[in-house]
Symmetry: D3
Subunit: 243 residues, 6 copies
Amino acid sequence: MSLIQVINPNTSQAMTETIGAAARAAASPGTDIIAVSPSQGVPSIEGHFDEAIAAIGVLEQVKRGREQGVSGHVIACFGDPGLLAARELATGPVIGIAEAAMHTATLVATRFSIVTTLPRTLIIARHLLQQYGFTHHCAALHAIDLPVLALEDGSGLAQEKVREQCLQAKLQDGSGAIVLGCGGMATLARELTQELGMPVIDGVSAAVKMVEALVALGFGTSKHGDLARPIAKPLSEAFQHLN
Amino acid sequence: MSLIQVINPNTSQAMTETIGAAARAAASPGTDIIAVSPSQGVPSIEGHFDEAIAAIGVLEQVKRGREQGVSGHVIACFGDPGLLAARELATGPVIGIAEAAMHTATLVATRFSIVTTLPRTLIIARHLLQQYGFTHHCAALHAIDLPVLALEDGSGLAQEKVREQCLQAKLQDGSGAIVLGCGGMATLARELTQELGMPVIDGVSAAVKMVEALVALGFGTSKHGDLARPIAKPLSEAFQHLN
Amino acid sequence: MSLIQVINPNTSQAMTETIGAAARAAASPGTDIIAVSPSQGVPSIEGHFDEAIAAIGVLEQVKRGREQGVSGHVIACFGDPGLLAARELATGPVIGIAEAAMHTATLVATRFSIVTTLPRTLIIARHLLQQYGFTHHCAALHAIDLPVLALEDGSGLAQEKVREQCLQAKLQDGSGAIVLGCGGMATLARELTQELGMPVIDGVSAAVKMVEALVALGFGTSKHGDLARPIAKPLSEAFQHLN
Amino acid sequence: MSLIQVINPNTSQAMTETIGAAARAAASPGTDIIAVSPSQGVPSIEGHFDEAIAAIGVLEQVKRGREQGVSGHVIACFGDPGLLAARELATGPVIGIAEAAMHTATLVATRFSIVTTLPRTLIIARHLLQQYGFTHHCAALHAIDLPVLALEDGSGLAQEKVREQCLQAKLQDGSGAIVLGCGGMATLARELTQELGMPVIDGVSAAVKMVEALVALGFGTSKHGDLARPIAKPLSEAFQHLN
Amino acid sequence: MSLIQVINPNTSQAMTETIGAAARAAASPGTDIIAVSPSQGVPSIEGHFDEAIAAIGVLEQVKRGREQGVSGHVIACFGDPGLLAARELATGPVIGIAEAAMHTATLVATRFSIVTTLPRTLIIARHLLQQYGFTHHCAALHAIDLPVLALEDGSGLAQEKVREQCLQAKLQDGSGAIVLGCGGMATLARELTQELGMPVIDGVSAAVKMVEALVALGFGTSKHGDLARPIAKPLSEAFQHLN
Amino acid sequence: MSLIQVINPNTSQAMTETIGAAARAAASPGTDIIAVSPSQGVPSIEGHFDEAIAAIGVLEQVKRGREQGVSGHVIACFGDPGLLAARELATGPVIGIAEAAMHTATLVATRFSIVTTLPRTLIIARHLLQQYGFTHHCAALHAIDLPVLALEDGSGLAQEKVREQCLQAKLQDGSGAIVLGCGGMATLARELTQELGMPVIDGVSAAVKMVEALVALGFGTSKHGDLARPIAKPLSEAFQHLN
């Protein structure tokens, strides 16, 4: 029995539920999902400042997950906030949803497009493409120009804009797959995949499968070298819960 | 119930068995493995010429697998011969073991080392690193300087040399994981992972998990764009079985 | 007296003639051209599957050419199928026409455009640009969106579309040269060069000159290192003619 | 009159003093330095986990600095923790010391070496080289293999090891400048520059000069585009001081 | 007291004055500016040929400046002609204005646009982006399609075109800063920065601040390694003044 | 009848003869070689300063060659000084010997080594590798640590050191070809090719063949775009001979 902790790095309960639902839909029979969010943080993540705060929440949850004996962790925000820090802290694997979606896209298509929320988050996606090695695999980036929480306002407007951008990407980009650039878009992937007739990839479900795969292969995060456990040192009070 | 076809691109039956065993050990309860090799080809793959021949065998088997209704395909040679051609032919996902091992390594470590067989195959690994985007994630490449089939000669010499190179890589490269650069090394990974205390990654098992993951996510190879089915055209007699 | 084997990797006789004519027009007085095509293969090459099959035909012909004592070989398909495998097999130089055209373009202009046939072949050109080091020298890629054999249907439609794309490239791309992305376009280059007033480069003639140059310099393919002759091993019946 | 806030992202008072001294020594007559450290954090920064915590302290101080009307900010830890987040929060310029030292090195030499503390921090330097565009300008990275706080233990051992590594870098790397990879090494630069007869660059003083320069040019961080102020949103209690 | 030599590499006196004015406006109280231009050269620099000639004038002036005891040198043409040669000759720092503007842009924004004069100079900017490491930091390049000296014709037309291109860059490029790609645009930067509400960067003033910073830090050009003084050798008469 | 101008960019008559001999040995029956050197310049080229001066001599000769009606030009110094400027000035093709040797090496081997003179010139080779796109094709760079003119001192010492470095490169680098990094090494290539049993490439002969090839193909330097003739403008007296 495998237990995967899916961490929504923001504090939006609605989004945690969206993400949790997508994770559960993707999980294998033998996998249980705990969808969590930080006790303290930002309600949505739309820039580097938000990410820096969210990273602390991710670490808080990774530590808690490790203590609960989870098999692995998913960081369910498209900027993968705190990914390498979380890997130091974790014993099991830690997968970010941008990472998961981008890797997956390169396995089913030669080039992919990204559809995300606000234009200001595009730079985060660009930096991740570079860090993960996929700059040349990305044909184009698109932003719907609506904030993250528009995906949870019940109006369906943001969802419709995502769909429009995906259709446009299909027509214009010459790419074979589309990566959805926000955890809040997780539940749209299956339907868009069918409508468009090409893989539209949600990182939450992709990340769940990657954690399952790594756990089955017997791999946690490497503790040899630069992802070894953080060197023990006295933290100030505000951060002692992370030690 | 999922059926994964694991294709040993060379004609060595001993290696097909090694690879099949590794694939079965990695497969989930709901997955069946068919380990196959081409009806015609080369007994081992140690260069571009061997790869070109092996690619035909891969296509022959992918076509057969597709007709058998397999869910996905693994190309179990570290050069990933015929990968993009196979993706055109396939409906389900197709994963190469170099690709699988390299992707996996970047998920558990910041940089990895490669240990392969003959020095002349290093260029193939270098080209794949570049194509997949992982040139900067690879700290060093090592060759044991023994041919592929030395892994099947029963003497254990090649296995010992692999172990030595892995130990050296651990000491010198500053990397956090090691990728085994040959399908014939598949069964060494678990033991070396334990002995070295760091992930030593076999691409066969990694690829099986990736195919399982993609199938579970509902993704085959994208048929929109440049991996669409090959354009139908009359093939000469020698290749008609591939159509 | 030098003998260059120009291999059309597809089985279209019309295209072999087009290519042979372009090669002969480019050859120096002391050079004889043998234009050949595989005994078995695909009638046109428009994807990775077609390329994998064509590579076998290329090897078959390279072996035969070597036995005939040719000085060098040209692979006359814009994807350069089987190039490195052919280099292992050959003693003399082997030049692909994409390679030849791209190298030539960088010698007469700072950046170049590519005009090719079907959009699905663009990914092959992109991968070659990366492998040869010319990604940053290519200003743009264009596809006429007609199949390769449209160049041989006698209607002149494909030729007119090539011309249109070249004119558009001249206006829009800010590049100084245009590379024609198909062996079947070989005979268009001189005329377009004159009409456009800028180098429009056909890889067939460029490759012939490169082989002549290497032969004159006394260089064959390096047999030291990873392009050494394939390691001798028993091939299955279907491939024994390649040994 | 210009006021520059130099933020030691760790909570080591000794290091704040070292850094403050280096900053003051570098400041122009018209510049005042405030050397600060976070109220809460880690005593030293030796990995991604430490950096994630330190980033919060950096943001806390940047906000405070902004309220105090400082002209600009320096992040005085070689990993530049929280740099882009701080830029969103700040009005004036924000410069990291790794960034400052690397930029400076490329202005006085064609290639540079880096000497840092623990081997596990090398990956942070590598990622910054890639993000800033200087991967090809860095000839080699060296680690003294002592923790950051060894620089403050009064024994001089760490300082001696830094000197040894610098001498070795001069002999072996073929580079024209050396970048000191830790804020705690700030006061060693002038002396080593003289002893080695080549620029040995401390990022603290370099960053102070860069902030002064940007302020004099009338540039703060661009508020057009992706470094605009963070979108206002309700933060949890633990992070409200950052808003 | 610091003396900075600002070299206009062309022989246009009007441009030397424009550049000198911008440099003086940027200089710190303790800095004196000498704005010079070569005794022999080209009236404007709009290609590689012009640059090759201008480089000699730059060296002539760098040598003279060194003899006058200047603290450092600025090469005030956006192609940074003769930069590395000048660094060999100089003892103090030498900064090109393209280099200065590009570095500065990356410190205040994640990506920048360039607005320059003639389209044919774009290739020079592209090559500098690559050499300095900033290819991925540049969002787009624009040319006003007017010659350099149009900036000195008094009509204001060129200035208006610069303004238009800057406005367009702001709307379209998704970048956070604009780099002005000609020394003759130096005096436009402050006003455009205000009008556009984003950093519009002139390399002349940026370079002056960088030289001041390097001088204050005690750094000249590294004389260890490949920027050491040119090896003494007998020059022909026409170049003896450079020795 | 084709006339190729081979320009030794330095003023050493001995080296002009060495280069001329190599060029003549490489020229086709129908090709005449004029080996020239600048009327004014440096006796050897060992850095950027020397290159800047040499570039003027190259332009002087290119202009003269154009007036003489030569078919194309070779710049016979391994730094390819003035290459793009010369291309603007020329009508026919202009090939640098570093460019020629590097391109040739990638046609006969997957990776190559470079053996050059002084360590300080390595940076020039590195920059050319980057500009031409061959950074990843170069396995290693070696310097014999003797000045250029040691190749002309008659002692044979420099030649012996070149041989030693080539042997070492063969043993250590895992490359398939060696590029000789100085025009003065031109006559060593054939013998070393035989002794080492791998291509040892002299750029002078390679460049002659490339010019012949381009001329035969009907290509001069592209005059469309950024290599168009320099814009006509009044040059100062010292440079009027270049107009």
